[in-house]
């Protein structure tokens, strides 16, 4: 299977051994470097043919629907519904979203760096499902070369019938929002655009556009091979499958792991070697996410249903452990200032509101003021009032911080702070 088209596809399908255990997406064991095309095909078997010899597109979409696959970029939208909506339009295009602008998250970068061909299989199969002849993969700058090599390897082997263009992602937090990805590819401006119309109706250059997170596409490539029942053999009945999670902060071996959805949060932390210091709180979901007390969160399943009681969700699969010797208020102030700076600058409530909120959180964290002042009013005035969900995410984070770090606020009011170190990664501020 080296370099040439040696695919006895229909017969090889029976030889493919679906992975019975996790990880499904990442290479098992301690492999380093990207998995090449030959190793990729040896592990998973060839993907179903995407010409008339393969399964009908409607059949494939049905299978994705039966699998219950949802978007892994944070919004958890049912993938089959998106596929069907885009398939209904003329001359559509597929955009694989590997932007991952969230500075604390690494799962899409790791997936593209380790299993680029699984994502590309998903791109090609998604194109088949919606009837697209072209596809764009937007890759974080750190993995651009790996993706280029993988695309070149497939082109040399004449592996795909779809033309895949690779674009380096914009280095901005909001650049990963679906309409911002499309605007970046088309105009070089990584800012969300007004909706409706839906991207599935009018997206890239006016064409019906399927924007899917790269992890979603990797799952899709396995569902097309092994079917819905196999996919559902991991996860919970309502949230089937596996997901990639980024675990960081006070754990012994921070990094990206693959879990069955619904694994208890405490067990997920054990996959990262367990806490490296007494944990105080967990940030669940990402910088748009929710702070939760470490003791109450540990037994909860890492799933939308399991975290709903904490007002949290899996988001893009992030868990950050805040140790007891860090200050949750200061961490939150750093992240909210970053989010305010990363506003696309289009909507007044986001531009002015997030700046005001960040300022007040900084004053509380810095011990300048003990009271909330106008913070509660600003939080409700900003919530839900942007063209995208950027301000809403920042509001959620601040609200959960005020609730989770009440004791810390009392300490600050008396001139104390329990923080001796910071744990959440925040890029340096840009020159304005």
């Amino acid at each position: 299977m080296r370099g040439t088209d040696s695919r006895p596809r229909q017969s090889a399908l029976a030889l493919a051994q679906p992975p019975s255990r996790l990880p499904r997406l990442l290479p098992a064991g301690f492999a380093t470097g990207p998995c090449g095309l030959a190793d990729h095909l040896a592990r998973y078997g060839p993907p179903p043919a995407t010409d008339e010899n393969g399964p009908r597109p409607e059949r494939l979409i049905e299978e994705v629907g039966r699998a219950g696959l949802t978007g892994r970029g944070g919004a958890s939208f049912p993938t089959a519904r998106k596929l069907a909506a885009v398939a209904a339009g003329p001359d559509p295009v597929v955009v694989a979203n590997g932007t991952e602008g969230e500075p604390a998250s690494a799962k899409d970068k790791v997936l593209l760096a380790r299993s680029p061909h699984l994502v590309l299989d998903g791109v090609v199969l998604a194109a088949r499902m919606v009837g697209a002849r072209r596809a764009v993969l937007v890759a974080h700058p750190s993995v651009r070369e790996i993706v280029d090599d993988a695309v070149a390897e497939r082109a040399l082997a004449r592996f795909d019938r779809v033309r895949i263009t690779v674009v380096t992602a914009a280095d901005r937090f909001v650049a990963g929002e679906a309409s911002a990805v499309v605007a970046w590819v088309e105009h070089g401006v990584p800012a969300p655009t007004p909706r409706p119309p839906h991207l599935s109706q009018r997206g890239l250059a006016g064409a019906p556009t399927l924007v899917q997170n790269v992890e979603t596409l990797a799952h899709l490539a396995l569902i097309a091979r092994y079917g819905a029942a196999w996919f559902r053999s991991a996860g919970t009945p309502h949230e089937p499958g596996s997901m990639l999670v980024t675990i960081l902060g006070a754990v012994r071996e921070p990094g990206v792991r693959e879990i069955a959805i619904g694994m208890p949060v405490g067990e997920v932390l054990e996959l990262a070697g367990g806490p490296s210091a007494p944990p105080q709180a967990l940030l669940l979901g990402g910088y748009f996410g929710t702070w939760a007390r470490a003791d109450t969160a540990a037994s909860r399943p890492f799933s939308a249903a399991g975290l709903a009681g904490l007002g949290a969700g899996p988001g893009a699969g992030l868990i950050a452990v805040l140790p007891a010797d860090s200050c949750g208020l200061r961490e939150t102030a750093r992240v909210v200032r970053y989010l305010a700076d990363e506003s696309a600058g289009q909507c007044g409530p986001c531009v002015f509101g997030l700046d005001a909120i960040a300022g007040q959180v900084e004053r509380i964290a810095g011990g300048v003021t003990a009271g909330l002042g106008p913070l509660s009013r600003w939080l409700s005035q900003v919530d839900g009032r942007g063209g995208c969900s950027h301000p809403d995410g920042a509001v959620r984070l601040v609200r959960s911080a005020l609730e989770a770090f009440g004791e810390e606020r009392e300490l600050h009011a008396r001139g104390w702070c329990s923080g001796t170190r910071t744990v959440l990664p925040v890029p340096p501020r840009r020159a304005r």
Binding site: P194, Q346, C347, G348, P349, G353, Q381, R385
Partner: protein, 70 residues
Amino acid sequence: MTGKAAPRLSVSPIACDGRGLCAQMLPELITLDDWGYPIIAAGPVPGRLLADARLTVGACPKLALRLGQQ
């Protein structure tokens, strides 16, 4: 106009520039936040305010205000 299809006001936050005309013309349904951007009252536009709402939509200099079913 049946009760089911009662129209609602909405603002496109990307288009809106915070000129504030709408809040002056239709204070019953539109207030301004601390930075001068319009907050639209929830729910459908009551029948007695429908004519005023249409006038306000037409007056928005940024064409950011909409009256529609959704």
